[in-house]
Symmetry: C3
Subunit: 471 residues, 3 copies
């Protein structure tokens, strides 16, 4: 018989009654605060077009590499999960059958944040009262699909129901931001902005880099075959983004390396890169220099800069060849910040008004590098635990390892960083619960007063994100 | 006056009454499950010959570098502990006197797993009711020795009393596995198998490598002066091991580096290695290539592959020179997996039926590398916390840092990995307690239901090891 | 209205009532033990001259980079904090105004050890009953200044009130130790010793290295233009320090690298270094060799050796240029010990009577390298969590990650390592509380008996420091 699905009201709070009581009290004051989602990867066309989502499998499995990577790790073929092949080979088309694969293997997610998020979506968004399993798979599939067909489950209605005050997506400089403009021009009052993510025109190793830079020139009317023209194109495109309400840029580099190269050297590197002749080290150096240029532009135009380094993208060669990018095979690398950020910090580390938000997939950097850096440099702030570390234990380690050196005020609240729209409230709820539980621990062992904890709970859940991202 | 030796029934469970209650309840269901010991270093001759163990010192101190390294670190000479010198210099022969050194310094082990294991052996195997100390040293020594002389303390009797369902030892390809065959041919029903550990014929830096490769050829009738003949010798020897019931191989390399070299290059490297002319980098490259070859053979013959990388062996030059290998001077190194395993994974990472179990002495790899890799690649599984991390805090960190990304089902239960036979039940008991305590924490903060935790307790204590090692 | 300042008697103890009770019971036995401060950076002239401290800002803000770095990280200019510029540019002179900056931003320290220490100083040294804030800033400033003008707050009186049994400062070999001699010659019975910190004459990259080496020769009557004369100068100066009661040396290197170079090579390196021609790699090699020489001298003269590696000093180029050293911009680096210490350990790792105390700013080395090394080599001991890790969470991680492999007896108690004299009792109190809380956890989950925990509490708070530093 299927088990009851219960979201315990005290979930994620300490077993200790005293700490749990304090955590619950703090959480009650932030539970219903609006959601600020200053960094993520939802699709803006959902909110401009407001078309209904297709079905449970298309919405909750296929686009979510957090979900299908676990099934793959246990031997379920990506073809059987309906993941499209690059060459158009046949893959499973029966979405109900794919849904059964998730349902029948739902035990694999025990102890993972995916399980927490999915259960929260199932219970709170769709109202299920039994746990997903082989027996309830059809009931789930039919109920979700039926709900998705109703107006109440269209993207804008869910956005409102989720109490989202602001949602940021992430776009290439080549995007015309048509969906964002359409949203702004519409009568709908939801606030959906973008972030300037120039990797396709900044990373010489990005597929189609030279073409993208040419298109970048065409879009901006600049001669992007010269480095100076290319920089002007960035300035123009950043201004274009900013006019639509954008307040931040985002940079997804393999490392945190920065550089400040002489004019002749960067000119030459740029030409090599455009000609597809840059070696891996030269590509790295070009990216490194561009981070420093981006900082300079942030100081000019006020866009907050985000750096997400340290992922070995598409690690699985066979999966990449057959299925393409973003198939759950991005694996963290050791990441160092102290030496690598120095060129940028030497130049702009003390410039008033500049903000650089640092993320990491290498938790060893929390106490050794990131907290000491953010606890000193005026420009630096620490982004929340990211990706694999966006989880209860990951959040606990982040606070345990950064608070004492960087304090709370050099952090920036929570980012959901997700393309799984329905999970956004669940993810913010996990962050709010974990932060309240951490504050409760500090209260219980008398490192913090209750009224201070109360202020901090609101700041971590809401205010710091608004301030840091200038929202 | 000597203190009472009490093993508290709730040891290692959280102080929190609620969590402790859940942990106790889970533990009661797994406490008495048979022991699966799929990887370890006991001596198979114990079980074929079934001769009595000699005395307390020979059994519990001299062969156990976990025990004597602590005494050495506090200034007690290895000679005084009776550790044999390579050159035959005189060392302490009086085993009772050596026993007194342990007893008189037993406080040094406070807070260590050695203390937990020894106390459990003392209380549960020998029935002591007072703590080991200078005052009780003779009583201990005499009682243990008297017990060891009885039939009930012979190896086979202890094996049965310990409720061991299967015990794996580890042997070189040059071993004839005579003891394992004798055990199998005997009327005794204990199951003792080996694992194929080819380091002596795979590592050009292993003492006597070239001789071992020659002997490898003689044993198999292959011409091991050519790389192809050498590979055939591996195939034959693996088949020989497999016929005796072996289900796994084990590889103890300094790093996790793998490689896929062109035929001409590996042929040349092999020749250099046989001639003792391989540089350290060439030796490393040879080992790296051989891991990929071993993976290929595992795919052929189905043996589960284990990789134990990252130990700087025999770090203490003076101790190595005077006393030889395995004297407690192996120290962990930083170990990276993401780049190093890529050549092997590029080739075999997605091959159905292949299993590669990864271990680490570098805990920073848990959340950054190992859990993300095992949470994606179908062939990868995570071995339990190893060696220095086979401890309550080590186990806690392992679960905290791997579960959210890899889940439970990409782990393989517990390995005791020990040559200290008497400690096997104690070690498995620590693992079962710590896993139950971790599951109890997840239950208490509502990340897991009680019935799921109950299933997992059995899987972590028993089933996953059997499945992963194909037992 | 200003909030009450309350130091809860159970602060830093677990919320769990059972564990808290045990921690409290242990703490009661060590709370009032005398303070052994075997390593730190207070100014010996305070205790020889015994002049009153100037005012709250000069005492508690300006010299304490732990305090002003947090304000700087949030955008408050160092000039506004009265930090002197190298070029004598005007900075804020109004100490009351600077004090208001601290008071008005005191919320920034929530969750940091600075907050714990300052509150303890405010409550216990000055008797404040309200929290520091904008409203209480003047009251604080006036009260502290008034107190400082009284005899009861002069350095010697505070030293006695703080129950300090021994305080070690740290001096260059060029120091004449006049203040230490004056203290010893005075009728005051406080024990203030120095430590031999030869970085200015050992590190070719130290500002003024060649001049310092010349002065070193002049002081000792040795020809320090030759390496042998330079070594003799060290021997003489160490003997000079030792005569004043010094028992230890201290080495603040960028890495833990050690080396044993042939005579011709080290002679040549020394000449290059004196001529200012050493490359960074050569400077590193010189420092590396000198650590091995210092070990040799420690074996001769019995001085305990301390190594504090792994800080990237003066990381912020602009701040360094404008304000000089020690302005809160020292950032930890990845630090490795296993390979780097090997040359020194190969030579002296097993020499009886030699003690080398290792510190780290890279917590990843605790379980991977430092505990395994200290759990084997007779000469090695682990220093307490250092600098950014001298904090409740840092102390917890240190014990969790070192105890199981190194035990307690390969650690050396607490160092406050501070120049903030008034915070010394607060810092030792935090250490005693955190150690008692850790012992209480071991007692509560039955890894330790209560009487063992009681012995350990005294050893960790008092005895181990005296023994390790030969005091």
């Amino acid at each position: 018989m299927a088990k009851k699905l219960v979201l315990h009201p005290d979930r994620l709070f300490s077993a200790d009654e005293k700490q749990r009581g304090v955590a619950r009290q703090l959480y009650e004051t932030v539970r219903a605060l609006p959601i600020i989602s200053p960094h993520g990867h939802t699709d803006p066309s959902w909110f401009s077009g407001n078309a209904p989502f297709e079905n449970a499998t298309e919405l909750l499995i296929k686009p979510d590499h957090y979900v299908f990577r676990m099934l793959y790790s246990q031997g379920i073929a990506l073809e059987d999960l309906g993941i499209a092949c690059v060459d158009g080979s046949a893959v499973e088309q029966d979405c109900r059958k794919i849904w059964h694969l998730l349902a029948g293997n739902y035990h694999l997610y025990r102890g993972t944040p995916s399980r927490l998020w999915l259960d929260t979506v199932f219970a709170e968004v769709f109202g299920f009262e039994q746990v997903l399993c082989a027996e309830t798979a059809d009931h789930y599939y039919d109920t979700i699909n039926a709900a998705l067909a109703t107006d109440a489950f269209r993207p804008r209605a869910l956005f409102e129901r989720f109490n989202i005050e602001l949602l940021s997506t992430t776009e290439s400089p080549l995007s015309d931001l048509a969906h964002h403009k359409a949203i702004a021009a519409s009568s709908w009052r939801g606030r959906v902005i973008s972030a300037y993510r120039p990797d396709p025109v900044v990373d010489p190793e990005f597929e189609g880099f030279a073409d993208a830079v040419r298109q970048f020139g065409a879009l901006t009317g600049e001669d992007t075959s010269t480095f100076q023209g290319y920089l002007r194109a960035h300035r123009l495109r950043r201004a274009y983004f900013k006019e639509t309400g954008v307040t931040s840029t985002d940079h997804g580099h393999p490392t945190a390396r920065t550089a400040e190269l002489p004019a002749a050297e960067i000119d030459a590197l740029f030409t090599l890169a455009l000609n597809g002749q840059a070696s891996p080290e030269q590509a790295e150096l070009f990216r490194a220099h561009m981070l420093t240029e981006m900082a300079a532009m942030s100081i000019e135009d006020g866009l907050v800069m985000q750096l997400h380094p340290g992922s070995s993208r598409n690690h699985n060669a066979q999966v990449f060849q057959r299925f393409g990018r973003d198939k759950g095979a991005d694996i963290p690398l050791q990441t160092s910040y102290v030496e690598q950020l120095k060129p940028l910090l030497d130049k702009y580390g003390n410039t008033p008004g500049f903000t650089l938000i640092l993320f990491t997939l290498d938790e060893t950097s929390y106490s050794r590098e990131l907290a000491p850096l953010a606890g000193h440099y005026p420009c630096l702030r620490l982004g929340p635990p990211w990706w694999f570390h966006d989880s209860p234990e990951g959040m606990r380690r982040f606070r345990q390892q950064t608070t004492e050196t960087a304090g709370f005020y050099n952090t920036v609240g929570f980012n959901d960083d997700t393309r799984a729209f329905l999970s956004i409230p669940a993810r913010h709820d996990v962050a709010r619960r974990m932060d309240c539980n951490w504050l409760a621990e500090l209260v219980c062992d008398h490192r913090l007063d209750m009224d201070e904890a109360g202020e901090l709970a609101v700041e971590l859940s809401y205010s710091l994100a608004k301030q840091a991202y200038k929202l």
